[in-house]
């Protein structure tokens, strides 16, 4: 038997834990708050690295040091964001399926994830040559602008989910 995406969302929506979370007036807001704070951590730390690439902050610190020491914090935030996000999604899976803001957010998340992957395996390989440069090469700055745009979009789309009900 094959299950469509919508049927999966319906099934998930009606599972015991998802229903319990949806109906809880205490746990749901707590998970939602944790999710919001985790996104703030992710975007805040990613933005610091992006702004370094653009030569706006921390110009005198090497790019590899800034990225290497700040991005682990991003991953912590990302883990919390993912787990809390999956919980929130499960609780409102059926609503989310139809929600345009939610769909947009997923697309933006995929792109925001792809961006550092491409960056890491292409331009970042030559970081030794521009590690100390206040202004990094054009492609690095492009990746930074893309990242800032995509993550801002994720915040906007994420917040908009609640406005499409």
């Amino acid at each position: 038997m094959s299950l469509s995406l919508f049927e999966f969302c319906q099934w998930l929506n009606d599972t015991g834990p998802a229903t319990a979370l949806r109906e809880s007036t205490i746990v749901f807001p707590i998970v939602e708050s944790i999710h919001t704070l985790a996104i703030t951590l992710v975007v805040g730390t990613v933005a610091m690295v992006d702004l370094r690439l653009l030569g706006i902050v921390l110009k005198k610190e090497p790019v590899s040091k800034v990225a290497g020491q700040i991005l682990p914090l991003t991953w912590v935030g990302f883990g919390v964001m993912l787990v809390s996000g999956l919980m929130l999604f499960a609780a409102e899976a059926e609503k989310c399926y139809h929600n345009p803001a939610f769909r947009l957010k997923l697309i933006l998340l995929a792109l925001a994830g792809l961006n550092p992957l491409v960056f890491h395996f292409t331009i970042f390989r030559s970081v030794d040559r521009w590690d100390e440069a206040p202004r990094t090469p054009g492609r690095a700055r492009l990746a930074a602008v893309l990242s800032l745009t995509l993550w801002s979009g994720i915040i906007v789309a994420g917040r908009a989910i609640a406005y499409f009900k």
């Binding site: 708050s33 919001t36 704070l37 020491q69 700040i70």
Partner: protein, 158 residues
């Protein structure tokens, strides 16, 4: 003029009327507020974790603090303007909201501590501060800012 009068007056301004009437004005302002929050959070986190000796240990703390100050001030300005705009939509609710009051009570010491730490760091010009007092201030600052965020989110629930 008492605080209550101030909120009453603000509640009756044309701005408040516009904010209440529009469906998307509040949403847009709130989104900008959240992006500002992320930037402020990032800057505050980097400076305080550096003071704590968790990240960028080999780099001078005063330089990092000085370098991130413009971002801190800019994001603070965005947060203040958007925050005041958001209050206009539900002025009296905010006035009576425990979460809103708590947020402001935490915000004032958080901001003062951040600015005070910055002053102390950049004025001395000596070797990097990593004394116990600095670490305490950094930890307290992180807790206070986290509290501001949590209380801010709670305004929507309480």
């Amino acid at each position: 003029m008492s605080l209550l009068h101030l909120f009453h007056w603000y509640d009756h301004t044309a701005l408040a009327a516009v904010m209440r009437k529009s469906t998307w004005a509040f949403a847009v302002v709130e989104m900008i507020h959240l992006i500002g929050l992320a930037l402020l959070g990032g800057a505050v986190l980097i400076v305080n974790l550096r003071l704590f000796g968790v990240i960028l240990r080999e780099r001078p703390a005063d330089r990092i603090a000085r370098d991130l100050l413009p971002l801190l001030v800019a994001s603070m300005a965005v947060l203040t303007v958007t925050g005041i705009l958001m209050v206009s939509e539900e002025t009296m609710k905010c006035y009576h909201s425990t979460a809103f009051r708590l947020k402001l009570l935490l915000f004032v010491p958080a901001l003062l501590l951040s600015l005070g730490t910055h002053r102390k760091l950049t004025r001395s010009g000596g070797p990097p501060h990593s004394g116990r007092a600095m670490k305490l201030a950094a930890g307290l600052s992180l807790v206070l800012w986290l509290g501001v965020g949590v209380a801010g989110r709670a305004i929507g629930y309480l």
